[in-house]
């Protein structure tokens, strides 16, 4: 049974409403996270401490009727700590190894401060994020659908952190930057969090409905010239491409992989539906391009030394790559 378009919108609105009860402002962040969930992708939230990253994901976990687990990544966290491990159990006089599931066996996993764990532990997420399965002791365990990893990381405290490798980053559907709230939002945050009652979100959408919403979103049509624009945009992130912008040529070492195009395409479809449209437009692509591409581009030494942001490069590409007619 497929979900109707109206139901899709209704569910999306409910999720945003519930999240909005707890999270003040950050509409774009919420929208991107929602898009990522409805597209079936994982999200990496980056921002300084105290901006509500963890709160946002936890609220989402409350709004969605899903199994939620939180993993606080630390340097001594081991892969088995998140994947699970085999333990020796005694049952009816027989002793055998039984697999004990780790916190990864949930629908919505919050990987808090993911860059604090060692690369070994970070890599333990690779298979789960890509294949939705876990292999322990040569035994593969499938994770329940839907499965989302919502990771956070702090861009400031670099000491004692392990930056995510490119392969890991590429598996995140979106990388969402969480910015400081404005004055009004700050006041609203104070009001909500320092009162007698703390707001909480109710469960409004089930995991099954999330899967149905994801399937519906995949059916949104995308015109051929819009696809061409996506392809051109992604290729233009490579410095050797003819359409590459000056910033790209100067500061980018390696451009976006085809996963970036997939993320753009799928994210734009969800965005179109969320925006009340039944087809993908150029604006949908442009709206999600920074979140979909920023973590998939590698800056060269000059770019890093001069403090160039990938968002600057993407912004220039969006304005320079011609929309096909």
């Amino acid at each position: 049974m497929t979900l109707s378009v109206d139901k899709f919108r209704s569910h999306a609105e409910k999720i945003e409403t519930e999240v909005g009860k707890v999270i003040v402002g950050q509409n774009e962040v919420v929208r991107h996270v929602l898009v990522s969930i409805l597209a079936g992708g994982h999200v990496l939230l980056e921002g300084v401490p105290g901006l509500g990253k963890t709160m946002l994901i936890r609220t989402l976990g409350e709004a969605l009727d899903l199994k939620f687990s939180r993993i606080q990544f630390t340097p001594d966290l081991m892969p088995a700590d998140i994947l699970g491990t085999e333990i020796l159990s005694d049952q009816n006089g027989q002793r055998e190894f039984r697999f004990r599931q780790g916190p990864l066996f949930a629908n919505l996993v919050l990987a808090d401060e993911i860059n604090r764990a060692t690369p070994k532990t970070q890599s333990a997420l690779l298979e789960a994020m890509q294949e939705t399965s876990v292999t322990v002791a040569q035994q593969t365990y499938h994770l329940d659908e839907p499965f989302f990893v919502m990771a956070t990381q702090n861009p400031l405290e670099m000491e004692g952190t392990y930056p995510l490798p490119e392969a890991q980053l590429d598996r995140f559907f979106f990388k969402v930057n969480v910015n400081m709230p404005d004055v009004n939002e700050m006041i609203a945050i104070m009001d909500r969090t320092t009162g007698k009652e703390s707001p909480s979100a109710g469960k409004v959408v089930s995991g099954k409905e999330i899967i149905q919403m994801r399937e519906l979103a995949r059916g949104v049509p995308m015109a051929s010239h819009v696809k061409e624009f996506v392809a051109r945009l992604v290729l233009a992130t490579h410095p050797g491409d003819p359409n590459a912008s000056p910033l790209t040529k100067k500061y980018v070492r390696y451009g976006v992989s085809p996963r970036g195009a997939q993320a753009l395409s799928l994210g734009a479809k969800v965005t179109a539906l969320l925006n009340g449209r039944f087809n993908v437009s150029f604006d949908d692509i442009k709206a999600i391009a920074p979140a979909a591409l920023r973590h998939r581009m590698l800056l060269n030494f000059d770019g890093l030394a001069e403090g160039v942001k990938t968002d600057d490069v993407i912004g220039e590409l969006i304005s320079s790559v011609a929309t096909p007619v």
């Binding site: 519906l216 049509p221 015109a223 819009v226 437009s281």
Partner: protein, 545 residues
């Protein structure tokens, strides 16, 4: 539930508006192209002196009007793909790619849920209907292109208003072209007339038409002012060379003799005389050959002998051969030798026929030479004053010594025994004529000594050499008769005693006035070809004291 037809309707309207906008845009661009082309072609035409003012205007107007029309119509009817147009309208009207996606889904609806298909189409139709094309897609022209068009118009107007010199030059060139074409047509007509003339022999026709054909070819190949004048002048000289100077005398003598014979009623030579009087020498020869002497009575034979004798005497000076044959016939008749008389008469008839042909050929050559010379003058006149000097410098001049003189070379020379002058010549022509005058230097040296303006008075002018004043001023005037009159070879006749001591000099203003008077008389008498009148006038103006 909407259908694709609901979407096609607004799309059709938009495409029509797009066509109009494109036609408008490209019409302006066509106007610019047309104006630039017109300016370039017009400038080229003016540079080559080929465009008159009206033609320039016509060229500019036609190209400037045709180009935008062609550009506009072409762009209006240029094929527009509906899908491409839809993509453009999606952007233009901020439709979020709804229309173009709907069109694509109409063709390839695979893998799209039916609900999304129908909702997408409904959404596209609703959005399309909300568009106001006149508000969202107004007709516009590029300001920069409009400024370029105005600049082109200003440049063309500048050429139109300030290009008087160019237009005049073009007009002159066109006049020359017409004059040359007229001359070519005239030469063709002359050639036809010569070829149709039964009087002339094939050799004579060939000789007469050859220079004309060459001239015609040259005029067609190189119809410029200088070349045309040179060609016509050269052809005139060749035709003049083909004319016989004595043919006129022979013709007059034959005509005179014919008049006398025609008045003698009952004479055997009356009919031949009538033909001679009318100038029909060939018919007269036939009449003469038809006389059967054996059929004449003795008195008639005697009368015929007397008439032949008289005719021979009258033609003795102009045509000795014919006169001799007529005389032989007369002698034979008087001796009673009928056979010899008949034979001599036949020979005389044959000779008369040849003379007739010679006269006809000469007359045609002379007339044609005159026509060609006039034609050269007309071409020069069409070219205005500018071309004359060039033509005179570049063309072949003509030197004449009396009537039989003839010369070739640069410049021009003349040697006419006019008004008692022994001759005058100017320019660098190399005359090869047989004129007794020969173009002496007497006319050139004195005149060239002082050709500047005077001091404003008439009292004192430089004394220049004057050969006609023997013994100095106050001496007897030397009158040199024309060479074609009896005694023409006498240079002068005066007292054998020496004149007053002193040089033969005369004030320059007197010499000038004499020459100017002679010139004016010559012009009035039409002795000077029209084409040279202006040149001679300029020459005298330059010598004016």
């Amino acid at each position: 539930m909407s259908t694709i037809t609901d979407l096609a309707q607004p799309l059709h309207l938009w495409i029509r508006r797009l066509r109009m906008q494109r036609a408008l845009t490209w019409s302006l661009r066509g106007l610019i192209v047309g104006l630039i082309s017109a300016l370039a072609l017009g400038s080229l035409g003016l540079y080559q002196a080929k465009l008159l003012r009206d033609e320039f205007l016509l060229l500019v107007l036609s190209i400037s009007l045709m180009a935008p029309i062609i550009f506009g119509l072409t762009s209006y009817f240029w094929r527009i793909q509906p899908l491409q147009a839809a993509r453009r309208f999606d952007i233009l009207f901020h439709l979020g790619e709804r229309v173009s996606t709907a069109l694509e889904l109409e063709r390839h609806p695979e893998h799209i849920p039916p609900e999304i298909l129908s909702r997408q189409l409904d959404d596209a139709v609703t959005s399309a209907r909300a568009v106001n094309p006149s508000r969202d897609f107004p007709f516009r022209l590029q300001r920069r292109e409009g400024l370029v068009a105005l600049l082109c118009i200003a440049l063309i107007s500048l050429v139109w208003l300030r290009g008087e010199a160019w237009f005049n030059a073009s007009q002159q060139a066109r006049a020359v072209q017409h004059a040359v074409e007229e001359q070519a047509a005239q030469i063709e007509e002359i050639v036809k007339q010569i070829e149709a003339n039964e009087t002339l022999t094939e050799e004579q026709k060939q000789a007469l038409t050859q220079p004309l054909q060459e001239a015609l070819q040259s005029l067609q190949n190189n119809p410029t002012l200088e070349s045309s004048v040179s060609t016509l002048t050269s052809a005139s000289e060749k035709m003049q060379a083909l004319s016989d100077s004595q043919a006129r005398q022979m013709s007059e003598a034959l005509q005179q003799a014919g008049n006398q014979l025609a008045n003698q009623e009952g004479s055997p030579l009356q009919s031949a005389g009538q033909q001679l009087a009318q100038g029909n020498n060939t018919n007269a020869a036939s009449e003469l050959a038809n006389i059967d002497v054996s059929q004449l009575s003795a008195s008639e034979q005697q009368q015929l002998a007397d008439q032949l004798d008289a005719l021979a005497n009258s033609l003795q000076s102009s045509n000795p051969q014919l006169a001799n044959q007529l005389n032989q016939a007369a002698q034979a008749l008087q001796n009673g030798d009928i056979q010899a008389a008949q034979q001599a008469l036949n020979q005389a008839a044959q000779s008369l026929a040849q003379t007739g042909q010679q006269i006809a050929s000469s007359q045609i050559a002379s007339q044609t030479a005159s026509q060609l010379q006039q034609g050269a003058g007309q071409v020069m006149a069409a070219g205005g004053g500018q071309g004359q000097q060039q033509a005179n410098q570049g063309g072949q001049g003509q030197g004449q010594g009396n009537q039989s003189g003839q010369g070739q070379g640069q410049g021009q020379g003349s040697s006419q025994s006019n008004a008692g002058n022994n001759g005058s010549g100017s320019g660098a022509g190399r005359g090869t004529g047989s004129s007794p005058g020969g173009g002496s230097e007497a006319g050139t040296d004195p005149i060239a000594q002082n050709n500047g303006p005077g001091d404003g008075g008439v009292s004192s002018y430089e004394q220049i050499y004057a050969p006609q004043l023997l013994g100095g001023e106050g001496g007897p005037q030397v009158n040199i008769p024309p060479s074609d009159q009896p005694g023409g070879d006498v240079i002068g006749q005066g007292p054998l005693t020496p004149g007053d001591p002193g040089s033969s000099t005369v004030p320059y203003n007197e010499v000038y006035s004499q020459y100017e008077q002679i010139n004016n008389q010559a012009i009035e008498n039409s002795d000077i070809p029209p084409s040279f009148i202006q040149i001679i006038k300029n020459y005298f103006d330059s010598l004016k004291p």
